[in-house]
């Protein structure tokens, strides 16, 4: 089952019926906002797909379906503002409960369902450079929604099938695109750890799985940075994604400046463009 079908299954019936006949191949996100028309994000632009305004109950039903009516079981994810089910990441927005009650939502006003995709062949142009640098550090860069995870998934699959032993801590289960069952193909030499944070998970994989390369989706916190340092210190390669258009933009953010100055990453792949029109530019990084 592809990501589009999985996302449709989470929608209220009125919207699901509307979209079942539609071609979802170009849809990047489904967005539901309370008292607004639901929209699809296609090539960076939102288009309404139903005249029926979204109700708060619709949003609650989506969350109930996605969490199996068990928000307490996904409280850790909700604290981060999202919920991941079968690889479909649902960003949640609304009025938060006081933090001491577990970080849940008093009212939910918007949901953003990101459709996971497998795009075979997109990494062909950058693979030689990645292989050459597989013992070093490579960053995949783009602004949010730019296709970092999709590119990372394809890079992992290609490198792994090429014989590189890769370990991945898939915190949001977006790379595998499932909750542990059959998901996207991540290659025949990939070991996958689900159910824990990427920083702790990567260190655990480093100790237990003897990887040649560790892939991390979104290096975004000091903990992630510390994990990257430990991994690099053990002579294991790192393939990671980060939110930035290019290395110059990274330099403007303290955490990423520190990351770049560590000298761990020597190659960056900048993702540009939208929809199916993506370009990948290689850039050597200097400390």
């Amino acid at each position: 089952m592809d990501g589009w079908t999985r996302a449709l299954r989470l929608l209220p019936e009125a919207y699901r019926i509307k979209l079942e006949q539609a071609d979802g191949s170009a849809v990047e996100e489904i967005r539901l906002r309370s008292h607004r028309q639901p929209t699809l994000l296609i090539c960076g632009k939102e288009q309404a797909f139903s005249d029926r305004l979204c109700r708060e109950e619709d949003l609650q039903l989506v969350l109930e379906k996605a969490s199996g009516a068990s928000l307490h079981a996904v409280a850790d994810m909700l604290k981060e503002g999202y919920l991941s089910v079968n690889g479909v990441r649902i960003g949640v927005c609304g009025t938060l409960l006081p933090s001491d009650t577990g970080g849940g939502f008093r009212r939910v006003s918007s949901l953003c369902m990101r459709i996971p995709r497998e795009c075979r062949g997109i990494a062909r142009g950058i693979l030689p450079a990645l292989r050459e640098n597989s013992r070093g550090g490579t960053l995949l860069l783009s602004p949010p929604g730019g296709g970092k995870t999709t590119l990372l998934r394809e890079c992992v699959r290609c490198l792994s099938d090429g014989g590189v032993r890769i370990s991945v801590a898939d915190e949001r289960r977006e790379l595998l695109g499932s909750d542990g069952g059959e998901g996207f193909d991540l290659g025949c030499h990939t070991d996958l750890l689900l159910g824990c944070g990427k920083a702790e998970g990567s260190i655990r994989l480093l100790r237990s799985m003897n990887p040649q390369l560790i892939a991390m989706d979104e290096v975004s916190s000091p903990r992630d940075l510390e994990a990257v340092r430990q991994i690099a210190g053990c002579g294991v390669g790192i393939l990671a994604t980060a939110h930035a258009s290019d290395p110059a933009e990274m330099q403007r953010r303290p955490l990423y400046r520190e990351l770049l100055s560590s000298g761990i990453f020597s190659l960056a792949v900048c993702i540009q463009g939208q929809g199916s029109e993506r370009r990948y530019t290689l850039q050597r990084l200097e400390t």
Binding site: L10, E13, L61, E64, G68, A69, S70, L71, T101
Partner: protein, 169 residues
């Protein structure tokens, strides 16, 4: 003819008494089973924070009737989650599987469906405890008065039967 009619009336009255006794005992057994199921539910949620589908499947397997019937029915209906709220599914299952409860206790049990899965764990377990306390109070009162109630029920139905018999003969 008169005699056999009177005997039938007497028999009917005694059967009514028996039915009353059975329904009281069934209610007591149901309340006991539900209280045990709610206690298990609270324990599993507090200790393991199990997702509700997993918890409901567990309770469907490991509780006594009629709790097992309720949780089995609810588990089957979880497939329509997303179309209908968990609260509505819980209420439907309670109406169907717990008809032996009095409406007050059933309403208290139905209310619990609104709290489960939607709030932080502490609030959920508190709601379970509240519901269990109400069912336990009813169960204890029922157990306490069961013998007297049964005696009264049998006595009344038998007296009614004899009265009709006397009137007819």
């Amino acid at each position: 003819m008169k005699l056999s009619g009177a005997l039938l009336i007497l028999l009917g009255s005694l059967l009514t008494g028996r039915q009353y006794a059975l329904s009281r005992r069934r209610e007591l057994r149901s309340l006991t089973a539900l209280c045990a199921a709610l206690e298990r539910m609270e324990r599993e949620l507090s200790a393991r924070a199990l997702p509700l589908p997993e918890l409901i499947a567990l309770l469907a397997r490991e509780t006594a009737a009629p709790a097992t019937a309720f949780f089995t029915l609810l588990y089957e209906r979880l497939s329509s989650l997303g179309e209908r709220s968990f609260r509505a599914l819980w209420q439907d299952a309670a109406q169907l599987a717990l008809s032996m409860l009095s409406s007050r206790e059933r309403d208290a049990f139905c209310e619990l469906g609104a709290a489960l899965g939607r709030y932080p764990l502490e609030q959920q377990t508190a709601a379970i405890r509240r519901c269990r306390d109400r069912l336990t109070a009813r169960r204890d009162a029922l157990a306490h008065s069961l013998k007297d109630d049964l005696r009264l029920g049998w006595g009344l139905s038998a007296s009614l039967g004899f009265l009709l018999w006397i009137l007819l003969i």
